[in-house]
């Protein structure tokens, strides 16, 4: 599977990012997908989301739209670390994350931003693994939660 890069534009500390990642991975979605037959770490979904350093041209002081634009250019330019396969879609830890825990998911296709949506940590693996294989676009998740501000599948 291709992993979705997780960018930290809010300046969260490494321990805060690790804590957030642990929350993302504690989702019951992994157990549902695997019918609890394998440990989550061996499920193939453990690395659905992986933190990546911000590129040089993405400033923490820019507007979120400018940041998203810079990150779309980055994830579609084959400049991500070559240690794994990456999706062009990505997730952002932004200023709002520290308030309500939600992350911003950005769907990218054909080198353009297609859509964006806020996602609760425990629903991130679900959304990311579907974006990675283009199985469900964000538009369907928005419909699924009746256009709620944050997609939270209660997992």
């Amino acid at each position: 599977m291709s992993s979705l890069p997780l960018f930290n534009v809010a300046g969260a500390s490494s321990s805060e990012v690790e804590k957030l990642l642990a929350g993302i991975r504690s989702t019951s979605y992994i157990a549902e997908v695997t019918s609890n037959e394998v440990p989550p770490g061996e499920s193939g979904l453990w690395d659905a989301v992986v933190p990546v350093n911000l590129p040089d041209d993405c400033s923490q002081s820019s507007s979120i739209d400018e940041q998203v634009k810079a990150l779309v250019a980055y994830t579609t330019s084959a400049k991500l670390p070559d240690s794994r396969s990456w999706s062009a879609s990505f997730l952002i830890i932004d200023s709002r994350t520290s308030r309500d825990g939600s992350l911003l998911a950005v769907e990218v296709g054909e080198k353009k931003e297609i859509d964006r949506m806020r996602v609760a940590p425990k629903s991130v693996v679900e959304v990311a693994s579907n974006l990675a294989v283009q199985n469900m676009p964000l538009a369907e998740y928005k419909a699924m939660c009746k256009n709620a501000e944050i997609f939270d599948d209660g997992r």
Binding site: T34, S43, L45, S85, G109, E140
Partner: protein, 220 residues
């Protein structure tokens, strides 16, 4: 529209040599609507049961099929998500795919399952895999019927290059048994009798359990 000719050529060239391809096995009790869509696509329209990963073209594949944008299923309360077969992340996906409105939760679980399959089986770009089904009793189209209930939709007019990509075939249904008693339904091209005997002795990947089980014999 981007058209990945090299991947299609790989797909066509290797269609008859699926010896070591992984077998992705779907549980009909977990994703019944999606399995019905897949069964219809393969046995009724001759769409490939052997696919090749193509993540680079997945976005265009998704946009070309009959799911359309905005999603044609969006108005349905219970079946609001659009499933397609062959998958958007396969070289065989695209305009020719058969689509069906399915429960969003079911489709969402399938996406994670497919992602997990690619990772756990080291399926890289261009790699081939076979699609199989078990626990199919009671599923629509599982009895071999091809009477479209009206749920199966594909684009009415296909571009000649999409027709070229379809690689449609008539299939015979084969049933293989695993060491744990699963009956795997697979589809073998009539032009390649006994080709699927190659899966005997290999492992089937039970997608919704993320584990492998040996295929021990065939009953059909």
């Amino acid at each position: 529209m981007h058209f990945s000719l090299p991947l299609v050529l790989v797909a066509l060239a290797s269609a008859a040599t699926s010896t070591l391809a992984a077998t992705l096995s779907w549980d009909g009790t977990k994703i019944p609507n999606i399995c019905s869509n897949d069964l219809y696509a393969i046995q009724c329209l001759g769409l490939p049961s052997s696919l090749h990963r193509d993540s680079s073209d997945a976005t265009s594949h998704r946009s070309m099929n009959a799911c359309r944008s905005p999603n044609r299923c969006a108005g349905s309360q219970d079946y609001g998500s659009c499933d397609e077969y062959p998958y958007a992340s396969s070289a065989e996906g695209g305009a020719q795919a058969v689509t069906r409105c399915v429960p969003a939760h079911e489709n969402s679980v399938q996406g994670g399952t497919l992602s997990s399959f690619y990772t756990r089986n080291d399926i890289e770009q261009g790699d081939q895999y076979n699609v199989a089904f078990y626990n199919t009793r009671g599923l629509e189209y599982a009895d071999g019927s091809c009477d479209n209930s009206g749920d199966e939709v594909r684009r009415r007019q296909l571009h000649p290059r999409d027709l070229l990509r379809m690689n449609t075939a008539a299939y015979s249904r084969r049933v293989f048994n695993t060491a744990e008693g699963h009956e795997l339904v697979m589809f073998e091209p009539l032009s390649q009798p006994k080709a699927l005997d190659r899966v005997l002795g290999t492992d089937a990947y039970l997608a919704t359990e993320a584990r492998w089980v040996p295929i021990v014999n065939a009953t059909m």
